[in-house]
């Protein structure tokens, strides 16, 4: 169906835009603040930490976690908006295991 294809293409473009934004933040926070500008940042202090040192050994890791959760939230919304989410998918019953529709 041509309508489906257009929608899939638009979804993919929106997805790529989301990835570009998040990966730029990822790069800036780790390679930027933690490595390239870390020496300059070291002139500032936060408690006992030099700021560049803090970013390279602590801050960047916290930011990574936050970025993934922003992605989880934003991509689920994106899936929903473009009607490509998995809500319509059916699952076979399986007593033993985790069942997404029932347990989530």
């Amino acid at each position: 169906m041509p309508g489906d294809q257009d929608r899939a293409r638009a979804y993919w473009r929106a997805n790529i835009r989301l990835l570009c934004i998040l990966l730029s933040l990822w790069f800036l926070c780790s390679f930027g603040l933690g490595i390239l500008w870390a020496d300059w940042l070291d002139q500032f202090h936060m408690f006992g930490f030099k700021l560049g040192f803090w970013f390279s050994q602590q801050g960047s890791i916290y930011i990574f976690v936050v970025l993934i959760f922003i992605y989880v939230y934003a991509s689920n919304r994106l899936d929903h908006r473009y009607g490509v989410d998995e809500e319509g998918d059916t699952y076979e019953e399986d007593e033993e295991y985790y069942h997404p529709d029932r347990d989530a």
Partner: protein
């Protein structure tokens, strides 16, 4: 109870738990064996991924390494966590939608070629064996110190346990044991860290204690004291970097991309039911990993201050017991260069050789004498970096049960990673080689039997690596990342994001990236180790960071070759279009499995 019996109790109880789980979650089909039936809860998968990921190197070696190299240790911290962002955003959801069992499966199908599949299988086996070697050694070290058995006996015991649940339960057994192992290892890592943070800074949260003032000097920050001590003894300041910026950049990038490309981590995301679960469980996994990874640098600085203050300029007769214990294990050595009976700890290697060679006699102070020639600096102390975490509770004078707990935690970390790797190796052989290439006609039950045999053989080989170790635990692991970064990540990434990428491009890309990286590392580590210094390196990039360049070589070659060769067939571009859309993952998958 004494430490010995407590350790036996803790380690024994944890092993009993693993075996119980193994018996309860036996695999009955290849789907169970390869992807735990594809029905793992994202939270459970997050924990299992964290345990799978955090190896003996993370648990035992990382804080120790950071402790010795200070600021530069951030390459490991950022590198081994930042890769999860790449994995969650660029690979995991799409590979889950693809919905097959292995990384070579994806590469073989996407690049419509058994040659590509074969190259991928070789990479998987190579990367996984380099990585597993370090784990078995870690098991041996823990056993030898805490249970006072020979390192080799320790390796054998570890092998038996892994054999039990990996061969019996496959991915299903491994997943649920890894959940248990995560709980044990994180508890074992955090308890001493919290104790030590309280003791030194009065803050129960190590991540904050790390930036706080000291209990015994309320006006001095811990890190300032550490910088001052380091400089006094001739080391560089702890919070100042020594590596060049380009090298730090490349090592971090290689570790990140390598993390995202490691097959044993990728396959974990095949085990959840839906695409959105794959994304979510990558997030959970990183939280669970971050708990350890943000604590490790704090522990590193605490231990560093503690070691310097409790050893330097102290008479050997008055040395704390932990020092003698680890000297007996062979991981600490003292050579009294100026014959004053006191230990001088200074910058530089104490010995000419890299490892101490003990003679059978003891010196006048009771120390173990060495056959090694002393180096011509003032440093009299050899400390193996691997012991920093293991000895941490003893150094800080923590209760016996904490010491026993660390032993169980170290074993959990090493065994969980070893099991994940062995599974990937066995799957590569039974599924990617036997089923897909050599004997497509075999039934599910026959394939399962091959998987079990392959797992058993792989456990045996891994054990041999543990008994005859190639090098340092952490150094061996660093290899695997460079190779994964240069081979898997680029071809999987282009397979998803570049529809035009074809068979020829992917195969030449993988081979060129791999050969380049492998040759560079082997040259500097084995052929010409003397020239392994910054002025000989390509652009000042060390062998640890060369995977980044290998990745670029892979990308460039693949793109060039792809332009000169025919585009992929339509069925393949349809496959790419399909994996880009989440809808249909659950349905397609369950149909595929049953």
């Amino acid at each position: 109870m004494d430490i010995q019996s407590l350790t036996y109790l803790f380690v024994g109880a944890s092993f009993a738990l693993y075996i119980t789980i193994a018996i309860m979650s036996r695999a009955s089909s290849t789907a169970d064996f390869y992807v735990a039936g594809g029905d793992v809860h994202p939270l459970a998968n997050g924990m299992a991924t964290a345990a799978d990921w955090m190896s003996a190197a993370s648990f035992i070696s990382m804080a120790g390494i950071i402790s010795f190299i200070g600021r530069d240790g951030s390459v490991y911290l950022m590198g081994w966590t930042g890769g999860y962002v790449l994995l969650a955003l660029l690979l995991a959801p799409y590979l889950r939608k693809f919905g097959k069992y292995t990384v070579p499966d994806f590469i073989g199908d996407r690049y419509y070629s058994d040659t590509a599949r074969l190259v991928a299988v070789i990479c998987v086996i190579f990367v996984s064996f380099t990585y597993v070697a370090g784990q078995m050694r870690g098991v041996g070290i823990v056993f030898s110190r805490f249970l006072e058995v020979e390192i080799n006996t320790g390796v054998m015991i570890g092998m038996t346990i892994v054999f039990f649940y990996a061969v019996l339960g496959g991915m299903k057994g491994i997943t649920y044991t890894q959940v248990a192992q995560y709980c044990i290892l994180i508890f074992a890592f955090m308890v001493p860290a919290i104790f030590i943070s309280l003791k030194m800074t009065g803050t129960p949260v190590p991540q904050l204690g790390f930036g706080s003032t000291l209990v015994d000097a309320p006006n001095t920050y811990l890190l300032d004291r550490l910088d001052q001590l380091s400089v006094e003894l001739g080391f560089a300041a702890y919070t100042a970097g020594k590596k060049s910026t380009i090298d730090v950049f490349c090592i971090t990038a290689a570790l990140m991309v390598g993390t995202a490309g490691l097959p044993h981590v990728i396959v974990r995301f095949f085990t959840v039911p839906r695409v959105r679960d794959a994304r979510l469980s990558a997030g959970y996994a990183l939280i669970f990993i971050a708990i350890l990874y943000t604590t490790a640098p704090a522990v590193a600085s605490f231990v560093r201050v503690n070691v310097i203050e409790s050893v330097n300029e102290i008479e050997y007769r008055a040395i704390p017991q932990w020092f003698r214990n680890w000297e007996d294990t062979g991981l600490i050595a003292w050579i009294d260069k100026n014959n004053d009976g006191r230990i001088q700890y200074r910058a530089g290697a104490a010995l000419e050789a890299t490892r101490p060679d003990y003679s059978l006699t003891r010196g006048i102070h009771g120390q173990r004498l060495l056959n090694n020639a002393p180096s011509d600096n003032d440093n009299e102390l050899y400390i193996d970096r691997d012991i920093m975490v293991l000895a941490n509770p003893e150094i800080a004078g923590l209760p016996n049960w904490v010491i026993a707990l660390v032993a169980a935690g170290g074993l959990a970390a090493a065994l969980s990673t070893a099991a994940g790797l062995l599974l990937v190796i066995s799957t590569a052989i039974s599924h990617d080689l036997m089923k897909k290439v050599f004997r497509p006609a075999i039934t599910d039950q026959e394939e399962l039997r091959y998987a079990r045999i392959a797992a058993a053989v792989a456990v045996g080989i891994a054990g041999l690596f543990g008994i005859y170790p190639p090098a340092f635990v952490a150094q061996v692991v660093a290899f695997a990342f460079g190779l994964a970064a240069a081979s898997f990540f680029p071809v999987i990434f282009m397979g998803i994001f570049y529809r035009r990428m074809n068979r020829e491009g992917a195969i030449t890309g993988m081979i060129s990236g791999l050969v380049f990286t492998f040759a560079y590392i082997v040259y500097f580590k084995f052929i010409s180790p003397d020239s392994n210094t910054a002025e000989h390196w390509l652009l000042g990039i060390s062998p640890e960071g060369i995977g980044t360049i290998g990745m670029l070589v892979n990308f460039t070659t693949a793109l060039l070759v792809c332009r000169m060769t025919p585009p992929p067939p339509e069925s393949v571009t349809a496959l790419v279009d399909n994996i880009r859309i989440p809808r249909g993952a659950g349905a397609a998958y369950h149909h595929h499995l049953r």
